[in-house]
């Protein structure tokens, strides 16, 4: 790793960097997992030192966070969740039955050039997959019948092993060997349901269609990935 770059990262963490050096570091961060790890470690150390009482109480009950679906190798970074936002274009909205106000809200939330570029790159096959799930939720020749999700609290609703529930949460599960060209969790809202598409490290794609939230879907997919 570039020693000089790391020192600049440390300085940027402290807000002590020249304007003309910021882009260099942000560009490097985008590409360099070890630099991302370093940044998250700085944050964790800083938080640990400055919020020690809170941190200690967290850890009295703490379990390890483990999402990492799309990493075939375990990246040993500190506790960091980076969330970025990818907009869905209006074409998708209309196909998903969303109203135009969603687009307006989107424009408020996302007005960057980057976002617009990303919007233009939405992949058709991914949309087709989602539409297929919506229109033919039971048409599935890939998902095993014996998926067991009791370890994350979900019971099978039917003998075909594809419908699960926990209290008021229920969903249809699909596990397919499919290249959708994604390496990140994506979701769409459809009426009162959400379709989560989660790529696993082994090349399978988990699709979860129901009224469950993102975190629960991630837990389910994480369970399957194990």
């Amino acid at each position: 790793m570039n020693h000089n770059l790391e020192e600049k990262l440390s300085a940027l963490f402290d807000g002590e960097i020249d304007t003309n050096e910021v882009d260099e570091i942000l560009d490097a961060l985008e590409k360099d997992a070890s630099l991302q790890k370093k940044l998250s470690q700085y944050a964790l150390v800083s938080s640990s030192i400055n919020n020690s009482n809170n941190i200690q109480s967290i850890n009295s009950k703490k379990k390890s966070i483990s999402y990492g679906f799309w990493f075939s190798n375990a990246i040993t970074a500190a506790a960091t969740v980076l969330i970025t936002f990818v907009a869905i274009n209006q074409f998708e909205f209309s196909r998903m039955g969303e109203d135009i106000s969603a687009k307006n809200k989107l424009n408020i939330a996302m007005s960057s050039k980057e976002a617009k570029d990303i919007v233009s790159k939405v992949e058709e096959n991914l949309v087709d997959h989602v539409m297929h799930v919506i229109n033919n939720p039971d048409l599935d020749n890939s998902t095993p019948y014996d998926v067991d999700l009791r370890n994350v609290g979900y019971n099978r609703l039917s003998s075909d092993g594809r419908k699960f529930n926990k209290g008021e949460k229920n969903f249809i599960l699909r596990i397919e060997k499919k290249n959708l060209g994604i390496n990140k969790v994506r979701y769409w809202r459809h009426g009162d349901k959400i379709i989560h598409v989660v790529p696993l490290a082994d090349g399978r794609v988990v699709t979860i269609y129901g009224n469950i939230d993102a975190q629960s879907a991630i837990n389910v997919a994480n369970s399957i990935s194990k």
Binding site: E6, L26, K37, S40, L44, N54, Q56, L82, R186, Y187
Partner: protein, 191 residues
């Protein structure tokens, strides 16, 4: 936005306000542990804290253009986090609707990493880290402590220690490197 002493993150915030996702990711990575810890102290629930922390940063992204720099960035983020936590508990249905990101028009990409270093948060590890910091060479310890614990700027530290700013920057970096190496070795020893 005011470029005042409250905002060490001025450049990153400006970029994030212009839609730069990398700058926003930097800010989120920097403040995620602090927001999480603050929410945990409020909710006493790991699950709620995780959900609320994620919701907080979704909201931060949506509203970052409204941040004017009148307070420190973390103060502003913290206010959002606590308001979300209050609403969470005020809503009778909130328990049934985790991570209720109202913005159905936003697709969220989680870039998440495993966290073996979370062990460093353990009480014993914290004590060891503090002890290690105490044993750092005086010049590194002073610069690091003035920065991390006292929140001094590099310029202030340079004045206090009568050293050039470049040296301050280097010392703080070296202190961090030493601490991370120590943590890494500690975890290796314990695992």
């Amino acid at each position: 936005m005011n470029n005042n002493s409250n905002n060490d993150d001025f450049l990153l915030i400006k970029k994030a306000q212009n839609g730069h996702e990398g700058a926003f990711n930097f800010l989120m990575t920097k403040y995620y542990p602090r927001v999480y810890a603050s929410l945990y102290s409020y909710t006493k629930s790991r699950e709620d804290s995780e959900d609320l922390t994620q919701q907080t940063f979704v909201k931060v992204w949506q509203q970052i253009k409204t941040f004017r720099g009148d307070s420190a960035f973390f103060t502003w983020v913290y206010r959002i986090a606590i308001n979300l936590a209050k609403n969470h508990f005020a809503s009778s249905s909130s328990k049934k609707d985790k991570l209720n990101i109202s913005s159905s028009d936003i697709d969220i990409e989680f870039k998440t990493f495993a966290n073996p270093e979370s062990d460093l948060m353990h009480d014993q590890s914290l004590k060891k880290i503090r002890a290690f910091i105490d044993k750092l060479p005086e010049s590194l310890k002073t610069a690091f402590t003035l920065r991390e614990s006292d929140g001094k700027s590099y310029e202030e530290i340079a004045l206090i220690t009568d050293t050039p700013i470049g040296t301050v920057r280097s010392r703080i970096f070296r202190a961090r490197e030493n601490i991370l190496n120590f943590i890494s070795e500690e975890l290796d020893d314990e695992s």
